[in-house]
Symmetry: C2
Subunit: 305 residues, 2 copies
């Protein structure tokens, strides 16, 4: 199947599943449910859940069982954006061309919406009570309980203080300071890389991949995570403003250290290229079965938005 | 064993376990670990974990297996206090006589410390990798995986938007408004009651209590939760300032609706008494085995701090 068509199909499935897991807007107290949905359906590219599904697809035709975990990662990613945008953090008024959560719902509600999404991420991974549906019990109930626990541990670890939050802490502490390459790498590996790694490993765990594969895909996802962050930095200098829905130059304006500001544009691109070919190398073992994962890797690292 | 001595012993055990689960202060990035520990070790009474342990103790001498879940609830309670105290929420500078997290570490770090504690609560419930210790694998590894998943579901549900966060949302939305008794009850049942109920039910689940017991203890904990909130309101009018470590009258100052302001002091006390005897009634079935749980119920509802 054509890559773009497949991506669109998977993305539609992820969006439907997210809609299914999130509380209805009509439900009391409505304000928080509106806030949760506002940010989850704000035009995200669903990169993390796509990585989970495409990784599982290498190993099993029953990749849909990875859908709850894929969505859990997207909820966690969304909560982190809401909290990152707060005045006490990055203080951003716009994201993807729309007002940020605290600008629409107020700071208190934005904090609570983030808290709620993080909590829901774990609730949905342990929910066996819902009726049969395309999005949960049919597939999720087949997953052995210990595998579910392994997945929750993977996700909680990646989201926590030794993962994403750790990166955010160092990022926050570095504001307005000159930082060295080592600190920058810590931020990138943790703030972005940890969730990428968890996305890929979660797909592998749910497909019952063996230890060798887990090791291989851990390497792949670490390389991808680092390259992805460099591309993010490149886009802030060179990206398409129309497609990104935001102005370039935000990092420079905030005097934020990035791989580009530390090493220059050419060096950053060369590192991106190198990380790309190293990451693809790890997937060669799976031959054609990893074709879609290779394609999304290329797409993520050579996009212009 | 004397009730106060037993409480102190259990509390010491809970504190040791919390210390074990939390990242060391020396670990990089230190600031967030300091912030997490500052709030967890701020003199909390450990009510929720005590309820979990004492409930498990009705059913099994192996009640220590409930320790990770008990601590998980305390981490979630602590995160909720940190976020509640933020300027965008209740805007409190002091709690238990000490500066609140954002006053010491700044708003951004306080938000992240809360996020980190919430995430850690789920990480520790799925962690099988740690070496043998009094606080985890010896007991926790004996728990069947599906029971662990049930416990996580219970806790996530209680902490989420249909539980604690829902209560906080309505509380935030009611600020400065006249609210009716129904809304006040919604806030109390959700903001405080949900975690109390989860604490008790979690202890029962981990002790493999049967459905009848779960039903009975659900009723007990709902009654306790409601009474506890009334006592909190009473203390704000009548409590010992020295013992509470804070001034009375905070609710009145914030024009916060409470059971006392809505119904008067006498009626609030009479409701507390009624809820107390109803809750104890539910424990009679267990005879002497529930003695300690009865005693903590009495202690919680007739304290002066």
């Amino acid at each position: 199947m054509d890559f773009r068509v497949l991506m669109q199909e998977r993305k539609t499935l992820i969006d439907k599943a997210l809609d299914y897991y999130l509380p209805r807007e009509e439900e009391y107290p409505q304000e928080i449910h509106r806030a949760m949905r506002y940010s989850v359906f704000a035009g995200g590219k669903r990169i993390r859940p796509l990585l989970t599904l495409l990784t599982a697809e290498i190993f099993t035709p029953e990749w849909k069982r990875a859908l709850p975990a894929a969505c859990s990662l997207e909820l966690i990613h969304t909560y982190s954006l809401i909290h990152d945008d707060l005045p006490a953090m990055d203080d951003d008024e716009y994201r993807r061309g729309r007002l940020t959560s605290h600008k629409v719902f107020g700071e208190g509600m934005a904090i609570l919406a983030g808290d709620a999404l993080l909590t829901l991420a774990f609730e949905l991974l342990t929910d066996n009570n819902k009726g049969p549906s395309e999005f949960d019990s049919v597939y999720w109930q087949e997953v052995p309980p210990q595998t579910k626990l392994d997945v929750i541990f993977e996700i909680a670890g990646a989201a926590g203080v030794r993962g994403m939050i750790g990166g955010q802490v160092v990022d926050l502490a570095s504001e307005g300071k000159k930082i060295d390459e080592q600190t920058l790498e810590y931020i990138e590996v943790h703030k972005t890389g940890a969730l990428f790694k968890a996305a890929v490993r979660t797909g592998a765990l749910l497909a019952q991949a063996d230890k060798d594969s887990l090791r291989r895909l851990t390497v792949y996802s670490s390389l991808l995570g680092r390259a992805f962050q460099i591309v993010d930095d490149l886009l802030d200098v060179e990206g398409s403003e129309a497609k990104m829905g935001k102005a370039r130059g935000a990092d420079a304006k905030k005097e934020k250290a990035t791989m580009v500001s530390l090493c220059g544009l050419a060096e950053a691109k060369s590192r991106r290229d190198q990380l790309y070919s190293q990451s693809i190398q790890e997937l060669e073992y799976y031959g054609g079965k990893a074709d879609q994962l290779k394609k999304i890797t290329r797409f993520l690292l050579y996009r212009d938005y």
